[in-house]
């Protein structure tokens, strides 16, 4: 799939925000399937602190848009049990940093139930949460911990980067029979983009070529897609053509699309907002460096968040997240004939 997507010029396509796209996906799925319900902190009247769920409780009522106590492990556990017995819960985990509190329910319970039961039980649930720094929220409200869940067989992991992907991945996740973690960049909720009305389903496991190019490939996730696109534009002025690929789901991973692009351009930078060390960027880089080994003109490079807790002070925080400028500089350095 490559942008511009033909479906986006069809009738019924509106320009809406990322938050609206998520909201719409949930509303459509809840209308379609009475088993779908939402639970989490301040999801009902408040519509979450980010207001992503505004209006849903009015349409679906407080049973299906259910405010919980501040009990992340508890309500994630409830979702697992509800999913095992015929419901399709969507857990709202306010900040990705709170994954720390739900790992047992997610990893030891949700992810393993289908396998451990020899295929008898299944856990069709979605857990949506956030990633992303530079919101001045300091070290416990700014982490991008998607590498953890991507490491766990039995979980699927989606990282939408545009309103369209946000809608399409959410709908696919809700219809999936497995536990799916959707990580949204909390700084992109107000970003706008074209989204069709009604069913948009983006298969889990399909990367998206967000921009075609020939000299270098940027494999970028979530918040870093826009960084890569900006860098790609800046590089044009330097006569360099960058391709931007968004895996969209880390698990399953569409490694074929990544490797193919790497073979074409011969140069790759992986950009991801998780800490660089032992982050998702390591897996993507390792897969590409292995799969495209004989085609690479330079080592696969990575740009991740700095390996430091996210500092509060804006002057420090801004240093920790990869920028278009850094990426442009790195790409130019890599494209200089050796």
């Amino acid at each position: 799939m490559s942008t511009p997507d033909p479906t986006l010029s069809a009738a019924g396509v509106r320009t809406i925000t990322f938050a609206q796209a998520v909201n719409e996906a949930l509303a459509e799925e809840m209308r379609r399937d009475p088993r779908v319900f939402i639970l989490g902190e301040d999801v009902a009247e408040a519509g979450t602190p980010f207001k992503v769920l505004s209006g849903l409780v009015e349409e679906f009522g407080p049973e299906r848009v259910r405010d919980t106590p501040i009990s992340e492990a508890g309500f994630t556990g409830l979702a697992v049990g509800a999913a095992m017995t015929g419901m399709r819960p969507v857990v709202d985990l306010m900040f990705g940093d709170f994954l720390t509190l739900v790992m047992d329910q997610l990893v030891n319970q949700a992810a393993k139930t289908h396998y451990m039961s020899g295929g008898k039980l299944k856990v069709p649930m979605v857990l949506r949460t956030t990633l992303g720094a530079t919101r001045r929220s300091a070290a416990q409200h700014s982490q991008s911990l998607h590498a953890w869940v991507s490491h766990i067989p039995g979980l699927k992991v989606a990282l939408p980067a545009t309103p369209l992907d946000a809608k399409g991945l959410m709908k696919a996740a809700i219809r999936d029979d497995n536990p799916v973690v959707i990580v949204e960049d909390k700084l992109s909720f107000q970003d706008k983009g074209p989204v069709p009305e009604g069913d948009v389903l983006i298969p889990l496991g399909q990367a998206d070529i967000k921009r075609e190019g020939s000299d270098i490939t940027f494999v970028a996730t979530s918040s870093m897609v826009v960084v890569a696109l900006q860098a790609a534009e800046q590089l044009e002025a330097h006569g360099l053509s960058a391709e931007v690929i968004d895996p969209r789901t880390l698990s399953p991973l569409d490694s074929a699309t990544l490797i193919e692009s790497a073979k074409k351009t011969g140069r790759v930078v992986v950009v991801d907002e998780g800490h660089q060390s032992y982050g998702a960027s390591a897996e993507l880089a390792a897969v590409i460096a292995d799969g495209a080994f004989y085609y690479l003109d330079a080592p696969v490079r990575r740009l991740g968040a700095m390996d430091v807790p996210v500092p509060f002070s804006p002057v420090l925080e801004d240093l920790t997240v990869p920028t278009p400028k850094q990426l442009t500089a790195l790409a130019r350095e890599m494209c200089v004939p050796a």
């Binding site: 106590p69 508890g74 509800a82 017995t85 419901m87 020899g118």
Partner: protein, 346 residues
């Protein structure tokens, strides 16, 4: 699954669909009582075999035995319908059998065979029997408290009359998760019964050394209805369980049942030298004075509901069933290697 259909010959016991309205003691119906006695005996004999399979190095890994605690699982499940749910623990064989499972498929699971309840992939600590409402044993202490409470939420949202029993040991009172979910269960009046099996020990530590205050104070803090029973007396357990299940079905909300009991074997099959944490005297006191099968057998005979011969007959039948079930498990084939990558995703 050919293994399954072959297996179905070996244990004729089919789970009762519906629980009888009241506790055991209110009922003089001999078949029901003999069936209850049989269920307790099946657990007892199952565990003897499990221990033996370990000692003779036929069973992979370790397993935690339920012998001594039979009256709790059987008494509680006496109040449940087949489509009611339970969640179970690392010490889960008793819950599984009491909820209606077949011994042959259980042994097959403990032995890692494809015919097992989980196709050999779960083993003792994850045995699940969905058809009888057993959502699975759990190797994380307290780990199923969320699942049970969520299943209870699900029954309400789906508009069924099902109830859920969450079994756990007193050690699970150490896990914060339990408090989180009890709060939600009470807030939303969910039909879940938390059954705390206090067998005195968290592994090798007496519960009093690691448990402050009053056990029942914990559910009460959330306004949850509580009850306490002699877990060695199946008629008491059953009577109380019927009350709590009735409450839950009527929408009156969750409850918490504290059952006092004792495990006969070690924490797991390998825990043989136990002197440093509990005395031989204590063990033999429980076995000789507080044995749930002896207590119930005497109760039945006192009331003329069953004769000693009848009970012996049940035992003989169970021993026979169990023997055949073990053999079935031992002979059953292992899963194909290709199964290793099956069921990671649905």
């Amino acid at each position: 699954m050919t293994g399954r259909s072959a297996a179905s010959k070996s244990t004729p016991r089919s789970a009762r669909g519906k629980a009888t309205g009241a506790g055991l003691a209110a009922d003089a119906d001999p078949p029901r009582h003999l069936q209850t006695y049989r269920q307790m005996m099946r657990i007892r004999v199952f565990e003897e075999h499990a221990n033996e399979l370990y000692l003779t190095a036929k069973m992979p890994g370790l397993t935690h035995m339920y012998a001594g605690e039979e009256a709790v699982a059987v008494g509680v499940c006496d109040a449940l319908n087949r489509d009611d749910y339970i969640t179970s623990t690392h010490r889960g064989h008793g819950h599984c059998i009491a909820k209606g499972a077949r011994l042959d498929l259980m042994f097959a699971e403990l032995l890692g065979k494809a015919a097992g309840y989980n196709r050999g992939k779960g083993g003792s600590m994850h045995i699940a029997d969905q058809e009888n409402g057993n959502l699975g044993a759990n190797a994380i202490v307290g780990g199923s408290a969320g699942i049970a409470t969520g299943a209870a939420l699900s029954t309400r949202m789906r508009g069924t009359e099902q109830v859920v029993v969450c079994f756990f040991g007193e050690g699970a009172l150490g896990q914060g998760l339990l408090y989180e979910v009890m709060n939600m269960a009470q807030l939303w009046k969910l039909p879940v019964i938390y059954v705390c099996e206090n067998n005195l020990y968290n592994e090798y530590t007496h519960f009093e050394e690691v448990t402050a205050g009053d056990l029942l104070g914990r559910p009460r803090a959330f306004g949850i209805h509580t009850a306490e029973v002699d877990g060695q007396d199946v008629t008491s357990v059953s009577a109380t369980a019927h009350e709590l299940v009735e409450r839950a079905r009527k929408g009156e909300g969750p409850s918490f049942l504290l059952a006092h009991t004792y495990r006969y074997y070690g924490h797991h099959v390998g825990d043989i030298q136990r002197d440093y944490y509990r005395s031989k005297d204590e063990e033999s006191h429980w076995k000789s004075e507080r044995d749930p099968l002896t207590i119930y057998g005497a109760w039945l005979q006192d009331r003329g509901i069953a004769t000693a011969e009848q009970l012996q007959q049940v035992e003989a039948e169970v021993r026979d069933e169990a023997q055949r079930a073990v053999e079935y498990g031992l002979e059953a084939p292992y899963p194909d290697e290709g199964e290793v990558t099956l069921h990671v995703y649905a």
